[in-house]
């Protein structure tokens, strides 16, 4: 174990060398601003309106994390299978009075498909990114990326658009046809970075303490292995040798974080494997991750910060029973666990009924009366069945928005909050 001085010296050395393994890494943000000044592209700036907070990344570079006036860049896997993931995030934002826009004028990043089937290319991926970023830009909001793969992809696309003139020209041409400009956000920001900077405020809301809970963390590969220099590190979390979120959040919430030997391994999602070669995915997830988390770390809950990882770990456990491996380790995103601890409804907000691996035993350990909540939810479903209006976290879209956007330059209005 290194002492504080040794950690500081290791981190200083890393910052000086600016290298991942032996690769020298340049800060593309410097070139991005040069291109902005030349009129080659427009940077979507983080302004005081976004109430940014500053963090440090791998090499000690400063990164601004906007906390207000955000454009939710949703994740197709989260919204499709784990809807309590974005709902928990929006729930917290409502608690804090955060201004945000969550609308139908977004596509996914399409990178799940790209990494799975290769039916795309750099120009298309970059154009998809810019189209989404532009929508945030024209509404005066800043994109907050929910998915780890979207975050990884957008970091790559930003780098590509800055470093490759040919791709930039092609994307600009496509954007022109769509009536849009080539824009790039000042920072690519993952939702977990928002949760990280808000962790003390979130911790102040805790109603169900986590002191009894042993959590194991899976760090999503696309958060820190793709364009590693953009991920947040903090000397207080594993001596700055692993990304800070979500461990930082768990520590702030008062949970016990337990380590295990295969922390560096991926989850086994594989993009195409999770859909058409699941014999691999479930074997890898169970043998290389779930088993050590339970047997070595005695985990009560597996915490991660990405769509694919939650899906993989949650869905892969049931079939383990065939081999007597009934670990039933609850799998949650950190923002879901935080919402549960802060008193959010486990079914109406955190939507735990979408999880294949039951979460109830964790709730029991947290002293949450899940049976009462379940009863309330069943009643709510009956009301919906009988035509009641659903409870919503924000005002619904306008009818016309089914077809097109009408609120350009009109950041979320007061009456919708």
């Amino acid at each position: 174990m290194l002492n504080a001085d040794q950690i500081r010296s290791v981190l200083e050395e890393r910052a000086k060398n600016r290298s991942v393994s032996d690769k020298k890494v340049a800060d593309v943000r410097e070139e991005m601003w040069t291109l902005h000044d030349k009129g080659e592209l427009t940077v979507i700036p983080i302004t005081s309106k976004n109430s940014p907070l500053e963090v440090e990344t791998l090499f000690g570079w400063k990164k601004k994390i906007p906390t207000d006036y955000l454009w939710h860049h949703k994740s197709c896997g989260q919204c499709g299978n784990i809807p309590g993931y974005p709902a928990s995030l929006l729930w917290f934002m409502n608690q804090f009075g955060t201004h945000y826009l969550n609308e139908p004028h977004q596509t996914s990043c399409t990178a799940w498909n790209y990494h799975g089937t290769a039916t795309s290319n750099p120009v298309a991926l970059a154009a998809v990114a810019v189209r989404n970023w532009y929508r945030a830009y024209e509404t005066g909001t800043f994109p907050l990326i929910h998915c780890g793969t979207s975050y990884g992809d957008y970091k790559e696309m930003r780098k590509l658009l800055i470093e490759n003139r040919e791709v930039r020209e092609k994307v600009r041409e496509i954007m022109k046809k769509l009536g849009k400009d080539l824009v790039i956000p000042e920072e690519i920001v993952h939702y977990s970075e928002w949760v990280h900077v808000m962790r003390e405020r979130i911790a102040a809301m805790v109603r169900y303490p986590l002191a009894n809970i042993v959590a194991t963390v899976h760090e999503p590969c696309h958060y820190y292995k793709m364009v590693p220099e953009d991920a947040i590190y903090d000397p207080r979390v594993y001596g700055g040798q692993r990304p800070a979120p979500p461990t930082s959040v768990l520590l702030a919430l008062g949970a016990q974080v337990s380590d295990y030997s295969t922390w560096y391994d991926c989850c086994g999602f594989g993009f195409r494997h999770i859909l058409t070669e699941r014999e691999f995915t479930r074997s890898f997830a169970t043998l290389r991750k779930i088993r050590p988390m339970v047997e070595e770390a005695h985990s009560d809950v597996l915490i991660t910060t990405d769509t694919g990882c939650v899906t993989t770990f949650d869905k892969s456990q049931w079939v383990g029973k065939v081999h007597g491996m009934d670990y039933s380790l609850p799998v949650l995103a950190e923002v879901q666990l935080a919402a549960l601890a802060a008193g959010a409804h486990p079914y109406k907000i955190v939507q735990i009924h979408w999880h294949s691996t039951p979460v109830e035993k964790l709730l029991q350990k947290m002293d949450i009366n899940h049976e009462q909540y379940r009863k309330e939810f069943t009643e709510y479903l009956n009301q919906l069945r009988n035509g009641a209006k659903p409870e919503l976290l924000h005002a619904p879209r306008l009818e016309i928005e089914k077809y097109f956007a009408v609120n350009k330059g009109n950041v979320i209005s007061e009456e919708t909050k």
Binding site: Q78, H115, T119, P122, D265, E279, P390
Partner: protein
């Protein structure tokens, strides 16, 4: 791996274990070589080749961290050797099966002491397999028609109504819902745009049309047509109908705005 085989037997009875598709090239040896040479030229001409492939010490650091290497006859070190080989057939053969074992986790890329972007160069090989309509790739992508339809029309990878018990028996009974129950559960999500079953979220028509325009302009439609021309034809029909609907709505809305003014 015992675990993998026996789990599949438990699920599928005596059905053959799903395996990666082996090269199904029907061309003559001469045609195959010509195709391999053409792909090789495209590979070396791709702007990413020079950036991603920087040399290899064969240290195997990439493979020690590779999840796929633990279960498949696959190694990122070997893939890099393939990328460095001057023999077009070496590349062509690897493109039939091996490249699809990669998980795209980027662990190899982060570990490589030489700065190779191994996951990235595998993506380039995969793109070329699609673009050149390799028979093995057509087979491999057959189960993806529905996903591609969803992606190219909404930008969503999967939708809740695609998680059906027939396709996901191993996810357990609570992972899938009956259609009627699914609509109700979606309605109980407190975010309006998520209360749909045929997409992860409701995507506006304009957004869908813009996405398709991007795919057309960037050459993705042509890529997909090389492996599934029928699917592309169907999508183009859908998009044409949507365009008409969009124009009509836009006209109606503009005239209403004018009237109100």
């Amino acid at each position: 791996m015992v675990f993998r085989v026996s789990v599949m037997k438990a699920l599928l009875g005596n059905k053959k274990e799903p395996a990666m598709i082996i090269a199904g090239a029907k061309e003559s040896a001469g045609e195959t070589l010509a195709l391999a040479q053409s792909i090789f030229s495209q590979f070396r001409a791709d702007f990413r080749y020079k950036e991603y492939v920087r040399g290899c010490l064969n240290c195997g650091e990439c493979t020690t961290g590779c999840p796929a290497a633990r279960f498949y006859d696959f190694s990122p070190r070997e893939m890099l050797q393939v990328a460095l080989s001057d023999d077009p057939m070496v590349l062509y053969n690897a493109m039939q099966e091996k490249i699809w074992a990669c998980l795209q986790c980027y662990t190899c890329t982060m570990r490589c002491r030489f700065g190779n972007e191994i996951a990235g160069i595998i993506s380039v090989m995969r793109e070329l397999a699609v673009k050149n309509g390799l028979e093995s790739t057509k087979e491999l992508l057959k189960p993806y028609s529905r996903v591609l339809l969803k992606i190219m029309t909404t930008g969503n990878q999967v939708s809740p109504d695609m998680i059906q018990p027939d396709f996901f028996p191993d996810w357990g009974p609570s992972a899938t819902s009956k259609q009627s129950e699914l609509s109700l559960l979606r309605k109980a999500i407190p975010i309006d745009v998520l209360q749909v079953t045929d997409a992860a979220w409701e995507v506006s028509l304009q957004t869908s049309l813009e996405l398709f325009e991007i795919y057309k302009e960037a050459g993705v439609v042509d890529m997909v047509a090389a492996v599934d021309p029928d699917l592309v034809e169907m999508i183009e029909d859908i998009v044409a109908d949507w365009k008409d609907e969009f124009e009509e709505m836009k006209k109606e809305y503009d005239s209403k705005v004018k009237q109100d003014a």
